[in-house]
């Protein structure tokens, strides 16, 4: 288990509440074995005989191995009654959880990894977008992102210029707001909750709050799982496996602005779980 406060003092999901059967089940977080006991709608999480804090917000089970300085982040859309809550299952990826979040933030890979779905190779340009660190809530935001997408969502009939906003709420949790094909003045919400199991092994829990009356749950889940498995191949073949924070290890371009800010934010937090060991710092 890690002893790093920046990693320990965070909330992490262990999965959708509905996926836990009654009684005891085993989970793993930050290299530590956890025991989850469900009694009705009540959850008890413990590690080596120690009881851990529990939350059940957004239909997910949350815990922490340390003492989080703040409560869980807010996701007000969860209360909007016309949204469908889609739990997309859990996908295991042999990569650092930080790599998963960074990949989720990246627009430039759409035409190549999600060809003819989230982008086309003829239109690979990432238009300028804005990034900011909102200090009062300690979140990263990337706004005014635009991308041409031939099939932006399960409900898309044809191509569209999709607008995106990204919101990184904790190092391992990120939320995407995206033009809804069904309600042009509102956003579909796609959250990616990452459960870091080991520094280079993670479980992704995608969760969507969609405005979509036509697609079936199976279509929405299938669409999101397909996108995820396309990412998985790339993520598992990235080297180094852990996210490098040392200057010069990977060279960003203008399109990678959100990842530049993300890495800077991780450094500021002194988070090292899932990052590559640095040789430019004296311990």
């Amino acid at each position: 288990m890690t002893t790093e406060p920046a990693a320990l003092n965070q909330w992490y999901t262990l999965g959708a509440c509905k996926d836990f059967g009654q009684g005891a089940s085993a989970r793993r977080l930050l290299g530590e074995n956890l025991s989850v006991t469900r009694q009705g709608e009540r959850f008890i999480v413990s590690a080596s005989g120690r009881f851990l804090p529990v939350k059940t917000d957004f239909g997910h089970l949350w815990t922490s191995l340390g003492t989080p300085a703040r409560g869980l982040f807010d996701m007000p859309e969860v209360k909007e009654v016309d949204r469908r809550h889609i739990y997309c299952g859990a996908v295991t990826v042999r990569a650092s959880g930080l790599r998963l979040v960074e990949n989720f933030l990246d627009l430039a890979h759409f035409p190549y990894v999600h060809s003819d779905i989230l982008g086309i190779e003829d239109k690979p340009e990432v238009a300028k977008y804005e990034v900011e660190q909102r200090r009062e809530v300690d979140e990263l935001w990337a706004t005014k992102c635009e991308f041409f997408q031939p099939k932006a969502a399960a409900a898309s009939a044809g191509g569209q210029i999709s607008q995106y906003m990204y919101r990184v709420v904790t190092p391992f949790n990120v939320i995407l707001y995206k033009t809804s094909p069904n309600a042009p003045n509102r956003w579909d919400v796609i959250a990616l909750f990452v459960q870091p199991v080991e520094p280079d092994l993670s479980i992704a829990h995608p969760f969507m709050l969609m405005i979509d009356e036509t697609s079936s749950d199976a279509e929405l889940i299938g669409f999101q799982q397909m996108i995820f498995l396309q990412d998985k191949i790339v993520l598992e073949n990235q080297r180094p496996r852990l996210l490098p924070l040392q200057p010069g290890r990977e060279t960003p371009t203008r399109a990678d602005l959100s990842s530049v800010l993300y890495r800077r934010w991780l450094k500021e937090k002194e988070l090292t779980y899932g990052t590559e060991e640095r040789s430019d710092r004296v311990a």
Partner: protein
């Protein structure tokens, strides 16, 4: 003609059917069902022209070949084809199970499934080597058949459960040939390019 497929995008068995439909240039309606975390059954093929409903990838491939493109079902090699369909449904099923455990957190013993899966790959490797010694590129004769299409998905997707193809040169060559077939389509985990 109107074909409808109950399809789960990540399933190796559904992929076998999608691949076959594409190779035969058959149009079909795709209905997404949730096989995991849900428990929906997939693949299921409905053919309203013949009022048929078919379950199981091997049976669907056989039906499509018989009904729409007989070159995929060489009659004189029927027994060999049947043997490979059974191989895909049993021995290779452990690779599919390993994949569900490794990628989607399904319950099961990953190490055991991988071990059995590797044994199946060894059988396939030996068979393909034998075939190449007698100058044949494919599993049952000189042309591709539904046997190749039934076996290909679980093999191509074994990376998802951490089973690489380094030890299987004949399988690698055969996979390249499958990928070059006219009408080949990929899926997440099996890129269209190679």
């Amino acid at each position: 003609m109107s074909l409808k497929l109950h399809d789960y995008v990540l399933s190796a068995e559904c992929y076998a059917v999608r691949l076959m439909l594409s190779l035969c240039r058959l149009k079909y309606e795709r209905v997404a069902v949730d096989a995991y975390p849900g428990n929906a059954e997939a693949p299921v093929l409905f053919d309203s022209d013949t009022d048929t409903e078919l379950h199981d990838a091997g049976i669907i491939l056989t039906y499509l070949a018989r009904e729409y493109d007989i070159q995929w079902m060489p009659q004189e090699h029927g027994q060999a084809v049947a043997r490979w369909l059974a191989f895909a449904a049993t021995d290779l099923a452990t690779l599919s199970a390993a994949r569900r455990i490794a990628t989607l957190g399904a319950p099961g013993d990953l190490a055991m499934a991988v071990k059995t899966g590797r044994a199946a790959l060894r059988v396939l490797e030996d068979a393909l080597t034998d075939q190449s010694l007698s100058g044949q590129d494919w599993l049952v004769w000189e042309k591709p058949s539904i046997a190749d299409i039934a076996v290909f998905p679980a093999v191509a997707l074994s990376h998802d459960s951490g089973v690489g193809h380094e030890d299987y040169p004949a399988i690698n060559l055969w996979q390249r040939r499958v990928r070059k077939l006219r009408g080949f389509v990929g899926m997440p985990g099996v890129p269209d390019y190679f």
